[in-house]
C-alpha cells in the first residue's frame, strides 16, 4: 500500500516539472528572430501555407493562449510537420527512436559488464598496483570525448583491423549487436568510468561496514556475503548513478550516431539543426526530455525497491 501511494506521489511530481519543460521548449522557438510561422514553414511555402501554420500555432493570439494550444497539440501527439522530411514530426521520431534506445541500452549493458568486475577487483585490493592501474585507465577514459573514442575505435578496429563494420545499422537483432558494438562501446567507456569510480567507492565502504564484518564473524561464505550483503547495498548508489547519467548517455548517443552514421534520433537532431527544421528540433528536444524523465522515474522506483527506507520520503 505504501509503495502505491509513493508511486502516485512520484508521478504527480512530474506534472509541474513537465509544464516548465514545455514552457522552455515553447519559448525556445519564439526566441528565434523574426516570425516563428515563417521559421516553421518550408522555404517555398506559399502565403496561404504560412497563414495555415500561423493559425495552427495560434500565433494571431496572445502568448498564454499560444502556450495552451502548444500543450494541447503536444498532448494529442501533434508536433507539426518536419520541413526537411515532409512528414509528421511524431511519425519521423517514432520511426528513429528504437535505434537510439537500442544503442543506449546496449551501451549500458557493456558499461556494466566492463565496470562491474573491475570495480570488484579494485575494491578488494585497495591501493595495490592493480587498483591504481584500473583507476588510472578509467580516469583517462573520463577525459576522452565520446566522439574521439568513437574515431579511435573506428580507425583501429574497423578501418585497420576490419573486425567490425564502419557504420550503419543491422537488419535483425544479432546483426544489430554486431553493427552497433563500436558505437555502443564508445558511449560505454565513458559511462563505465563513472560507474567504476562510484561502485569502487561504495564497495570499499560496504566491505568495511559492521554488518559485513559481522557476517564474516558468523562464518558465512564469501559468496553469500558478496551477493546478499555487499552487492545489494552497493547497487543502490550505482542504480541511482546510472539513472542520473541518462542525460549523459543520451548526449553520448547523439554524438556517436553522428560519428558512425547510425539513423537514430541523435543524428536526426543534428540534421534538423543544419536544415533549420524547427518543428523537428522542437519535437526532438521534447522527446529527449520525455526519455530522461521516464528514466528518472524508473530509477526512483527501482531505488525504492532496493532500499525500502526511501519509500517513506
Amino acid at each position: 500500500m505504501a509503495s502505491i501511494s509513493y508511486l502516485v506521489a512520484r508521478l504527480l511530481q512530474i506534472i509541474p516539472t513537465f509544464l516548465l519543460v514545455m514552457v522552455f521548449i515553447f519559448l525556445l522557438v519564439r526566441m528565434l528572430p523574426g516570425d516563428p510561422a515563417i521559421a516553421m514553414a518550408e522555404a517555398k511555402a506559399t502565403d496561404a501555407q504560412v497563414e495555415q501554420i500561423r493559425h495552427n500555432l495560434g500565433l494571431d493570439q496572445p502568448l498564454p493562449v499560444q502556450f495552451v494550444i502548444f500543450v494541447k497539440n503536444t498532448l494529442t501527439g501533434d508536433l507539426g510537420r518536419s520541413i526537411m522530411l515532409k512528414a509528421p514530426v511524431t511519425e519521423v521520431i517514432l520511426d528513429r527512436l528504437p535505434t537510439t534506445i537500442f544503442l543506449a541500452l546496449y551501451s549500458v549493458v557493456l558499461a556494466i559488464v566492463l565496470a562491474g568486475p573491475l570495480a570488484f577487483l579494485a575494491a578488494s585490493r585497495v591501493n595495490t598496483t592493480t587498483d591504481v592501474v584500473i583507476r588510472s585507465v578509467f580516469q583517462i577514459g573520463l577525459s576522452m570525448p565520446v566522439f574521439y573514442i568513437g574515431l579511435v575505435l573506428l580507425t583501429v578496429l574497423a578501418a585497420q583491423l576490419r573486425w567490425f563494420p564502419v557504420g550503419g545499422y543491422g537488419k535483425n537483432f544479432l546483426d544489430n549487436l554486431h553493427h552497433l558494438i563500436l558505437p555502443a562501446l564508445s558511449v560505454a567507456l565513458y559511462t563505465s568510468a563513472i560507474i567504476l569510480r562510484n561502485l569502487r567507492a561504495s564497495l570499499i565502504e560496504v566491505l568495511d561496514a559492521d554488518y559485513v564484518q559481522f557476517a564474516r564473524a558468523k562464518g558465512l561464505s564469501t559468496r553469500i556475503i558478496m551477493t546478499r550483503h555487499v552487492l545489494r547495498n552497493a547497487l543502490v548508489s550505482t542504480v541511482t548513478l546510472l539513472g542520473l547519467s541518462i542525460g549523459n548517455l543520451m548526449s553520448g548517443t547523439l554524438v556517436t550516431e553522428t560519428v558512425f552514421a547510425i539513423p537514430g534520433v541523435g543524428r536526426l537532431m543534428l540534421e534538423a539543426i543544419f536544415a533549420r527544421d524547427y518543428p523537428l528540433i522542437q519535437g526532438l528536444t521534447l522527446t529527449f526530455a520525455v526519455l530522461v524523465s521516464v528514466v528518472f522515474l524508473l530509477t526512483d522506483i527501482v531505488q525504492s525497491m532496493l532500499d525500502p527506507r526511501l519509500r517513506k520520503a
Binding site: 516539472t17 519543460v21 580516469q139 570525448p145 574521439y148 579511435v152 547523439l254
Partner: protein, 289 residues
C-alpha cells in the same frame, strides 16, 4: 611570491602549509604541471609551435608522424603539432568562458536562494528539475540552433544550462553554513544580509564549488570540442581541437594522424583538470585535516 612572504613573514601560514601538502600529492603535481603547461601554450603558442600553423607546404602533404613533424602533416602540408599548439588558445579559452559566467551567476543565485529560502527557493527547485530533465548536450545544441553556431553563442548556450549546477551546489552549501553559530553571530551583530552572505557564508562554502569548477573545466573542453567537431562551436578555419579532428575525419584511412593526434591534447588537458579537481577535493575535505 614576494607578496605571500611579505604578508606572512614569521609563521608558516595556512597557505604555505596547504601548498606543501598539495605538492606532496602526485595527482596534484601532475595535474598542476599539465595545466600550467597548457596555459603557457595558450598564451605563447608562437614560442612553442615549430612551424607556422597556417603555412601550406605542398611538398609535405599528409606525411606520417616523423621527427620533423611529430604529429604529421595535413592535406595542405600544414604541421599538425603546430596547429594543435595554436588551438590551445581557443580551447583553454573555452574552459574558462564556458564555466566562469555559469559559476558567477550560479553562485550568486544559489547563495541568495539558499539564504532566504521560501517561495524563491521553490521556484528555483522547479527550474532546476526542468533543466536537468534535458540531456545537457541536447539542450545546449537546441539553444545553439536558435542562436546560430559559433563560439560566443556556444558560451551563451552553455551558460544558460550550466549555471543551474553551480546554483544547486551553492544553495546546498549555504544552507549548511547558515545553520552555524558564526552566521547567527553575524545577525546578532546587526550585519546586513548581503554582508553575511558574501563575507561570511560564501568564503566557507567555496571549497566544493572550486573543486566542481575544476572538473567542470574538463567537461567544458570535452563539450566545446564535441560541438566544434559537430560544426556547432568554433568555426573553421579557426584552430580548435574538435574542428581539427573533424577536418581529418575524411582522411581516417589515409592519414589517421590528422584526426587522432589533436585528440591527445583534449585527453591530456581534460586529465589535467580532473586530476587537479580530484586532488583539491581530497585536500579541501575537512575530514582529512
Amino acid at each position: 611570491m614576494s607578496v605571500v612572504t611579505q604578508i606572512q613573514p614569521h609563521r608558516p601560514g595556512r597557505f604555505r602549509v596547504f601548498i606543501g601538502r598539495a605538492f606532496s600529492r602526485p595527482s596534484f603535481v601532475i595535474g598542476f604541471t599539465i595545466i600550467v603547461m597548457s596555459i603557457a601554450l595558450a598564451l605563447f603558442p608562437q614560442i612553442f609551435a615549430p612551424y607556422d600553423p597556417l603555412a601550406f607546404d605542398m611538398t609535405a602533404i599528409q606525411q606520417a608522424p616523423s621527427l620533423a613533424h611529430p604529429f604529421g602533416t595535413d592535406n595542405f602540408g600544414r604541421d599538425v603539432l603546430s596547429r594543435v599548439i595554436w588551438a590551445y588558445r581557443v580551447d583553454m579559452q573555452m574552459a574558462l568562458f564556458a564555466t566562469i559566467f555559469a559559476l558567477t551567476i550560479g553562485v550568486t543565485v544559489g547563495a541568495f536562494v539558499g539564504y532566504y529560502g521560501g517561495i524563491a527557493d521553490t521556484i528555483f527547485g522547479r527550474c532546476v528539475d526542468a533543466i536537468i530533465t534535458f540531456p545537457f548536450l541536447v539542450l545546449v545544441i537546441a539553444i545553439v540552433a536558435v542562436l546560430g553556431p559559433g563560439l560566443v553563442n556556444m558560451y551563451i548556450a552553455i551558460t544558460i544550462v550550466n549555471w543551474v549546477y553551480y546554483a544547486r551546489l551553492t544553495r546546498a552549501e549555504i544552507m549548511t553554513q547558515k545553520a552555524n553559530d558564526y552566521a547567527a553571530a553575524g545577525r546578532v551583530l546587526g550585519y546586513s544580509d548581503r554582508r553575511i552572505i558574501f563575507r561570511h557564508l560564501l568564503p566557507n562554502a567555496m571549497s566544493p564549488i572550486i573543486v566542481y569548477w575544476m572538473t567542470d573545466m574538463a567537461l567544458a573542453i570535452l563539450l566545446g570540442s564535441s560541438l566544434g567537431y559537430l560544426g556547432l562551436g568554433a568555426q573553421p578555419p579557426a584552430a580548435e581541437w574538435g574542428v581539427l579532428i573533424s577536418e581529418g575525419r575524411n582522411f581516417l584511412l589515409t592519414a589517421w594522424w590528422m584526426s587522432l593526434m589533436p585528440g591527445l591534447a583534449i585527453v591530456l588537458t581534460g586529465l589535467g583538470f580532473s586530476l587537479l579537481g580530484d586532488a583539491l577535493a581530497d585536500l579541501l575535505r575537512p575530514k582529512g585535516r
